[in-house]
Subunit: 512 residues, 2 copies
């Protein structure tokens, strides 16, 4: 059996086994809950071994998979491809899984898309039934049997607490120096629980290890599976323009004397636009930034290196390969400036509200009144899921949503009369930003919002069509609070389905 | 000038003036922020005096009105009727105001519908501009100049803190014995604030008075305007059936060993169904109930009287006249069992999550996937607003929404293919209840939810039509995550607009 000096607990050495043997502990009908978050810190060796057992025809099984958020291709993708997953929550980014969730695979997957900050509590309160196996990636196990997590925390402590048996994957490619980066805190459950004592992004309130009774550990699997980070999102002119608008808004907010980005923490999502915002912040006059976020992208390291950011708190190091290498090459320098928390804490409504976070999340589409769809294409096909956006948007001091004004080379307007699915209602969207500009919606009525969104955020090619819809709807409803013509509200989307574009050119103007 | 022994502070006696004189302190263009909440505890004499000044042609003015929630007819209705209100937030229930907001009056009102738990903070952070006048109803002013609030707290402390000038309405019809019922707590603002130390519904964390520097008090107006409480919501068979289903669900939850209603606090909204639930709880085997809610209805007094409820926390005594009389006749007995808090605390995401509240709110309509519209008729005409429902639904341990399965004598199905407006997304709705039954949506995929909602919650007359839509949508989208046919998604509503009913009878079956 593979041995590792990362396994410092003598008592657990008799639990060492191969990935193949550990995978055999997982049976059909079970609920398996795993470490990791988008997709850092997920187990790899045991999932791949199980997939291989199924692929080779040795076994056939269907199970429920729970996690912190999305997992790596070794897990979501590999398991979805060979039909292992019957039920999945709370988030995913895998192509194979997405297909099976949306009816494009032989075996359908029932996917429940949940606010990430609520998921651990829901599980503890029995919403997802019994957890059979927790499968946790670790960088080490200490002399006392404490587990050193890797590049994400997610719901790992809750999975360990709830699971009947725990399988630990000791991944030797994860730096041993990750020890000390984490802050694991058990929130407890109602009816009696104390406040979460966190009052600043950099504060530590827990312990750096996952706690697990040794008798619960059924297997320790030593592996050397390299993390496969997301590719670095390429910047483009549109992302940069959105970023510039966000920085302008933040500077204006500071000039107004209101609470600004150099006084309260920022939350920033994942992807090209989010990373462009981080780059934009580096070149701005804002100083002493801090982050209270669910993921850290490369741009946060840049801000720390440039002396612009003092501290970043998240649940996951969602860095590119280059970003991970940079962090690990100089890990001691970053030690006092980064912390990884349970997703229940990073995404806690309580803490986000208390700190006054300025939240920046991306929209798939937004409508005239500021409602945001962040998950479902055409209101039907889920892309990833709502993730943590609702945790931040609802409780943030200022909730910013951003999107390019158009997609698919201009064939899709991301500002539409009515969104086809609402993840964030008008009540949770304070500022809407595109590369065209921004609409500060705070304190405005729906009709005032519509005018601002059309003129400031919509692409010029679609403004006439949006104005036309809005004017027609105002007339048809005699100026109701939220003017709509229900039979016409999805006309942009119907054009797209019929003609491949939301645009319809009429007399040199785009009308839809 | 009217004198009152309720004004115990010598230093403030020179501020006594008539309602008419105090109303003259309010000018056009100002922002006026008032005490009260749905509609308890609102100022009455000064608003009526100002309305009279306008109605009689002496003055003409337009202003912004902010409050805790809806106000009484002396304020929202009277001011809307004579065109005083240009801008209104965060909630309303007034008929005249509703008309002006929805384009049915000469002078339009810009209405912003805001989560009530966020509103005080938004105002402190400058989202609503400068507050000129705070107009606060009081039961007394103490020797030290502290203000004893009346039947609601709402945002009163924040209004006093932000306003340039404060007008106090000393209402002699409000019982002096209200002194001590309130718990006023200033949350503070980011970036540095401490946890809200509340860990049980009955705990006191603040002081029983509103604090105000004496030099800020511009006027004290003595009045004797009777509170005009909401009429007691009549119970009907449908409300009682919904209530029975909710109680059954709660008992099942208790039997399952999960956290149940006798261990965590309940939140219950306003209206006939909410009150029927309270009555249903009285006749249930559940004991030691507690409430962490925004309003108290008569049913809570019944539960306390019956020894079924130990404690109730809210921001407003939204009682009927009989309920108020019962409370005031025996006020010492209720003293240790009720507390009135700032709406920022009663509706605090932090506290609601910590306590593990079971939230029960009403829907206008719900769709196949569990999305809820609680504010906009046909997606266009706002009825009241979102109120505090979003504060509770998002942070609750279990979020229940309830609605009759049909309205208008069966012409409207409250379960529709797609809601015309989303206030609460599928992610915030755990259980949907109608008089037909309930659908426990926890852990289910959208398609699983749809089947359950149709069979358990929809009215039998509409089930075939809903099944037909769902099947068609599944076929058209090849089983996508959230099957919809956008061009058909509002067909129930289009039928209603065209034919006066969502129903279309075809071969003895209702198809829509």
């Amino acid at each position: 059996m593979a041995y590792s000096d990362r396994l410092r607990c003598e008592e657990l050495k008799d639990r060492l086994m191969s990935a193949d043997a550990a995978a055999a502990l997982i049976d059909s009908g079970m609920t398996v809950a795993v470490s990791g978050f988008t997709p850092a810190g997920c187990p790899k060796a045991v999932p791949l071994a199980l997939a291989e057992q199924v692929r080779s025809g040795k076994r056939k099984l269907r199970l429920t998979l729970l996690s912190g958020a999305s997992t790596g291709e070794e897990l979501d993708n590999a398991w979805a491809e060979c039909g292992i997953i019957a039920r999945r929550a709370p988030y995913m980014t895998s192509k194979a899984l997405r297909a099976a969730v949306n009816g494009g695979a032989e075996e359908e997957i029932a996917y429940t898309d949940v606010h990430l900050g609520e998921f651990a509590q829901n599980a503890r309160c029995g919403f997802n039934g019994k957890i059979d196996v927790a499968l946790i990636e670790a960088a080490a196990i200490t002399e006392e049997g404490d587990i050193v997590p890797t590049t994400a925390l997610g719901c790992s402590q809750t999975w360990i607490d709830l699971a009947e048996r725990v399988i630990v994957e000791l991944n030797e490619t994860q730096p041993a120096a990750l020890e000390g980066f984490h802050d694991v805190f058990r929130v407890g459950d109602p009816p009696r629980r104390e406040p979460i004592p966190l009052t600043a992004p950099g504060q530590r309130i827990g312990r750096p290890y996952l706690s697990c009774p040794k008798e619960k550990i059924a297997a320790v699997v030593v592996c050397a599976c390299e993390e496969k980070p997301r590719p670095f999102p390429p910047a483009d002119a549109v992302s940069e323009a959105i970023a510039r608008n966000i920085v302008r808004f933040l500077l204006l907010e500071k000039d107004s004397g209101r609470l600004s980005a150099d006084r309260v923490p920022l939350q920033s999502g994942v992807g090209a636009v989010a990373n462009a915002v981080l780059i934009g912040l580096k070149d701005s006059p804002l100083e002493h930034l801090s982050f209270y976020s669910e993921v850290m992208q490369d741009g946060i390291l840049d801000l720390i290196d440039a002396g612009k950011a003092d501290f970043a708190s998240a649940t996951s190091l969602s860095l590119s390969r280059a970003g991970l290498e940079r962090l690990f090459a100089d890990i001691e320098r970053y030690r006092g400036k980064l912390v990884l928390r349970d997703s229940e804490i990073s995404n806690s409504a309580e803490v986000i509200r208390r700190l006054g976070v300025i939240a920046m999340n991306t929209a798939v589409e937004a409508d005239l009144y500021g409602n945001v769809n962040s998950s479902q294409m055409n209101g039907t096909t889920v892309y990833n899921g709502i993730g943590g956006s609702g945790d931040y948007a609802r409780s943030a001091l200022i909730s910013i949503f951003m999107t390019p004004s158009v997609a698919k080379g201009g064939k899709i307007s991301c500002i539409v009369p009515m969104v086809t699915h609402v993840d964030h209602s008008e009540h949770d969207v304070d500022v809407l930003v595109t590369e065209q500009g921004w609409a500060d919606l705070r304190g405005l009525s729906p009709k005032e919002r519509a005018r601002l969104i059309i003129e400031n955020c919509a692409h010029p090619d679609y403004r006439a069509a949006l104005r036309a819809y809005f004017d027609e709807a105002c007339a048809a409803t005699h100026g109701a609070q939220t003017p709509h013509i229900l039979s016409e509200s999805f006309r942009f989307h119907e054009n797209l389905a019929r003609e491949g574009s939301m645009r319809r050119e009429t007399k040199g103007e785009t009308l839809c």
